[in-house]
Amino acid sequence: MVTRKLQLSIKSIAGAMLGAVLLAGCSAGNPSATTSGSQAIPKGTLNMLVSSSVGSDAGFKAVNKAFEAKYPGVTVKFSSIPNANYNAVRSSRLTAGGIDVGLADPVQVPSYIPASNEGDDARLADAGGLVDLSKQAFMTNFTPTVLDAIKYKGKQYTVPTGLSYYSGVYYNKEIFQKYGLQIPTTWSEFVTVCKTLQSHGVVPLGISGKDSSGINMLGVVQNLFPTAADKVALAKGLWDKSVKLTDAKPEQVLNQVKQMYDFAEPNFAGVSYATMTSGFVKGQFAMMSDGTWNQTTIQAAGGSALNYGYFPLPSSENPADNAFLGGKVELSLAVPSNSKNEGAALAYLSFFSQPANYKSFLKEAGFAPTEPNIQLSPFYTSIATYTKTFEPAWDTIWIANTKSGAKAQFPFDYNDIAPLGTMTPQQAATASQAAWAAGF
């Protein structure tokens, strides 16, 4: 649920705490070897803390059940906390040593950015608070490119539980068919589709202004700066001030976001995520800017009656730029180095990584797999062309300057554009540039 809040560009999930000491001990004892190492039989209590979300909660519960069945000596205490309180709880439990398996997401800060902008999880990893999993045998279960994407300073601290894509839109196939519309592959085509729908009295786009308005910005940025290299260059340019937020292309981002707002349902600024989802399911709008994590919910709510698909938001005029979806690695599990039952924690991660168990998790969670050779659900099969190459989304690359003002957080200030705020795209670009510059 709330982990999807894209306004939080730091994925402050999980505390993976790995201690170097543990690593030494671990590699000697080879605990990740699946089942029958007599040193490796876990027992005792395993405290697990994650942030709450329907799909992943169900997935974890399924795995926990199987884990307890396999190792009767272990009791798994699973806590899933809603986002509003998650950080406070995680912080306190971590301090008290009450987490054995949790979530963490250390993001490496490039060399041209001062280390003071590191996120908390990165600092944690630096300080030795996460157990280093690099040499654990169970890590070989995962797709190497994904592991590379989440490496932190050359080490693996986290287990990637899945991938999500969110630079696209869901669309109602029946509405599209009714008006003879094709999936747009350029921005102009997208605008045309929207205008056609409007002329027939259909709301083109559903946006949840209250909870996830940032996703539109991310969708637009994704294909205006198509490759990871482009995005990194943009970030670097902003940091060394060769690029301004008031330059043509950055401001273009805000202009296109505004266009999306204009195509959205009336009063979307106050619409919650749940209302938007149910609106889409009921056919109140033709498209919905959202992420693939919502797919299981849509499926459950709409059932076989709803005929829907997902395509990348074509923010560029060049179809080749719009070929892929941007995404991120979802919840990443890690082990704190002050865990009181590290043996069980590592055994759990090992168990989780076994393809059979991992599949049972994916089935509930609705993520895309981070292990190779896993059969995709029908939905993910339908978007396989868009996910052939994994493109990281903007919020996984961008690191904000903590010294800059709040309007330069993302740094595109979509929140101030009417009707969410009171500014025009130009004004918002100027405001965020001023805020950005103030941090240097």
Partner: protein, 269 residues
């Protein structure tokens, strides 16, 4: 009826609409099944889904948590009220020197900065982390406006009563615990109820200080419904009504004491 009274009833009616309508709407939502709320969020419920309360009760594990909440609230609010009395009465009478400083302290109690992090560290360092005692102690200390309310109310009890009791040989403590409570019923009930509400509705301190689910209060049961963005509104509505009910009962019970006023009689004597 005089026009005055008609007007009064009319005013009351207006107030009631503003208060009852949202509450009834909540109840209405709680009685709808998920599917019905999904298709018709606004209208009056067509098919009563009383089962929602049962589902909410089990899903939120309220049975186990209810007892915890009752214990925490009863103990913390009672102790807190006691403290408010012990501390508010003597200051109001001037029995403690430096009255102004104590009043200042009472007021300062109201706007203490949010000390979540430091309270947690304190509890952790005195080894009460995860214990119900630690949680109750923190909750007890949240007396808020209690001493101020008691001080204010005590002013309307004439000093002559104190003097009369002392002449009769009643000691201080016996006076405070034996005589005063009945005189101070309205304000003590108010203080108790105010603190009880704070303790009963606390979520954040409970999640931080009590990681063990068996010690969780009822508010944590709501987490089972809060995590979802799907149309679980009806279950959530049912769950919130369950959480609110015991406090409501307690309030109705204490209401009677709020009404009684013994002051007039005491003054006459």
């Amino acid at each position: 009826m005089t026009t005055g009274r008609i007007l009064s009833y009319f005013a009351v009616a207006v107030v009631m609409v503003f208060y009852l309508f949202p509450l009834v709407f909540l109840l209405n939502t709680a009685l709808k099944s998920n599917a019905e709320f999904f298709s018709n969020p606004l209208g009056v419920v067509q098919h009563l889904a009383i089962g929602n309360f049962g589902t909410a009760w089990t899903r939120g594990n309220f049975g186990a948590y209810m007892l915890n909440s009752i214990v925490y609230t009863a103990v913390a609010a009672s102790l807190g009220t006691l403290i408010s009395l012990l501390v508010g009465f003597p200051v109001s009478r001037g029995y403690m020197k430096h009255t102004k400083i104590w009043y200042g302290l009472f007021v300062a109690l109201l706007f203490l900065p949010n000390a979540l992090v430091t309270q947690f560290q304190l509890i952790l360092h005195i080894n009460l982390y995860g214990s119900q005692l630690g949680y109750i102690l923190i909750m007890t200390a949240g007396i808020g406006v209690g001493p101020l309310l008691v001080s204010g109310y005590v002013k309307s009890i004439p000093v002559e009563l104190d003097e009369a009791a002392a002449l009769d040989g009643v000691g201080y403590l016996r006076y405070v615990f034996g005589f005063l409570p009945s005189l101070l019923k309205p304000v003590l009930s108010t203080v108790f109820i105010l603190q009880a509400i704070g303790v009963w509705n606390d979520i954040i301190l409970a999640t931080i200080l009590l990681p063990d689910q068996s010690k969780s209060p009822v508010t944590l049961g709501l987490f089972a419904f809060q995590g979802t963005y799907t149309s679980q509104w009806s279950l959530l509505a049912a769950a919130t009504i369950i959480v609110a009910l015991p406090l409501m009962v307690a309030y109705i019970f204490l209401q009677r004491y709020l009404v009684a006023s013994v002051i007039g009689g005491a003054v006459k004597g």
